[in-house]
Subunit: 344 residues, 2 copies
């Protein structure tokens, strides 16, 4: 067993194609081919070049490649300026898987600050003009989002995490099927014997929220259960959510599906004020499986968005689009996973 330190040379990073070529005793282009079209080389030559490459620790200079091939192998991810108040949600794990998937394909994710307000598009324009990205990933699309249309018009490759909520449905997207999630939640609660299942949602008008409401509604109908008076709305705020939950409780609702974990917490609090506790006889299922869910007492069942998968699929669609700008658009809906804990 040899020494622990890797045998690979930690050469100073000024190795060029030409140097590798000299070492291997071949021409410059042959080395390039060894990397990009190995099938062109005679096996024996290939072997010799490959040895030279890793003896010298050669890596192609990305800027030089980008300049010649007109492709930066960078994917832009615009993060909206914090001055808009709310930072982009759940971005963490999504970015993680996105950038891992990108790496596997030889791409990288580059973050850029998006100017708030009217001219958020100029940030995209700028990155494009600079050739600073080959394509984009959007997230947090909402009604009236101009980015999809804008990018589409210009034929810029992109994928959105989140469907097109307004305007024509253009471009590739990946989204989580909120309706399928809430629908599964309803069926689970019904399986536990609940009949008076309510929905705690956001005010109508938000694409995401309405989608989640629809799943509850659909499942209730299929099961032959009445939805009358079982739907309450509240902004995503604990105090208001508690009030809305209290109203549901007053109508004899025994279980609730919530559009977010925050709203689910409203149900917790409403129960507590009524001197009851969440669980078998007063169940609740939240949405997003935020880090708080397992920490609550009792721990909160919730619908987890498959963010890892979303990231991977986004990158798959984007790469396909980069490879063939003319291919038909593709939409992918992924199902959230019902994570069962004590609250249901």
């Amino acid at each position: 067993m040899h020494a622990h330190s890797s045998p690979r040379p930690r050469t100073g990073s000024a190795v060029t194609l030409e140097m590798v070529a000299a070492r291997a005793g071949v021409g410059r282009q042959t080395v390039s081919n060894a990397i990009n079209s190995p099938e062109l080389l005679r096996p024996q030559t290939l072997e010799r070049v490959r040895r030279a490459i890793d003896e010298l620790g050669y890596r192609p200079h990305r800027a030089a490649q980008a300049l010649k091939t007109r492709a930066s192998r960078l994917i832009g991810y615009g993060i909206r300026s914090s001055s808009t108040g709310v930072p982009t949600p759940v971005l963490d794990q999504f970015l993680h898987s996105l950038s891992e998937a990108a790496d596997r394909a030889g791409y990288r994710v580059v973050l850029f600050a998006v100017a708030p307000g009217d001219d958020e598009l100029t940030s995209y324009q700028q990155l494009l003009d600079e050739h600073g990205a080959d394509g984009f990933v959007l997230s947090g699309t909402d009604r009236g989002d101009r980015r999809q249309g804008w990018l589409h018009e210009r034929g810029v490759p992109y994928v959105a995490f989140g469907r097109t909520w307004s305007g024509r449905d253009v471009g590739d997207w990946v989204d989580v099927d909120g309706a399928a999630g809430t629908s599964a939640a309803v069926r689970h609660l019904a399986g536990l014997g609940h009949r008076r299942i309510g929905f705690l949602g956001w005010p109508k008008g938000s694409g995401v929220g309405d989608d989640r409401a629809r799943g509850w509604q659909g499942a209730m109908r299929e099961l032959g259960l009445s939805t009358r008076g079982r739907r309450m709305e509240s902004p995503d705020d604990p105090e208001r959510a508690t009030e809305a939950a209290a109203k549901l409780l007053a109508t004899g609702t025994t279980a609730v599906v919530a559009a977010s974990d925050t709203l689910a917490l409203g149900w917790y609090q409403a129960l507590r004020r009524a001197d009851r506790t969440p669980g078998a006889d007063a169940a609740v299922i939240g949405f997003d499986d935020s880090p708080i869910a397992p920490l609550l007492f009792p721990s909160l069942s919730s619908l987890a968005q498959p963010l890892d998968a979303v990231g991977r699929v986004c990158m798959r669609l984007l790469l396909a689009r980069l490879g063939d700008p003319e291919r038909p658009t593709e939409h992918v809906l992924l199902e959230p996973e019902l994570v069962l804990r004590e609250s249901a």
Copy 2:
């Protein structure tokens, strides 16, 4: 009032220096100078060139710049592979402010996946060899972290969010002063009349945790309060935290400073089991001000890390280092902010 659409031309992004030069009727280099050293031009020429630049919507091609200047104007941020289990914490807001600060300085943050395990350093090596980043930002430094030493040896510019917990203290870093935070928390609780103030911490050996414990200890001593039997340890897990908190409660502890919000939740739960409720007579202050803090009932007071500031300062130090590799290293400690809510 003119039409809403911006008057700036949305030119296809193939504008080069040469084209601008032709339009302005000057030489190629003059345009370059207009951008990089405007003081060299006669005001009149400068004006003419500038007009040509934005008539054509010119932006320098970053790859070409990078190739010639040997600087990519990209900052690498390695995110560890998810297969290690826990995703990097609190990364969200930090990345946000980091990348905004970078943008303001004409830099951008590029994410790269770090191979887990032994050879995480090869990911850094690779990015360097490719000239894919001019410097790095690290976060989540812990004991036995080899990255700092490795980068330092090679003279690679970097900043760490998190001090060097082991080995020689090398390189620039920015960190949050955990001790100052817990110390402020103790003083606040003492100001409310508490005398038997406990500490709920992580097992000894983690740099961050020990630091937070130290602040509590120091403040207690200064106030002439005894710490005997008032410190309990638990991993960051609700159930175990509850047990530890229960022990503190049993010794008559009336207020607790916790090393994390999760641990603080343990105190909540211990109280609840004893049929009491967090608040004036049984206070607690958490750490990190996670999103859950305001959602709890009662809402949790917590020490918020100034992540926006950390991001900005990281970028400031890194830019300074990039500008002058020989400058003395700089360390910045920022104080967390005590966010008071119902629990204290």
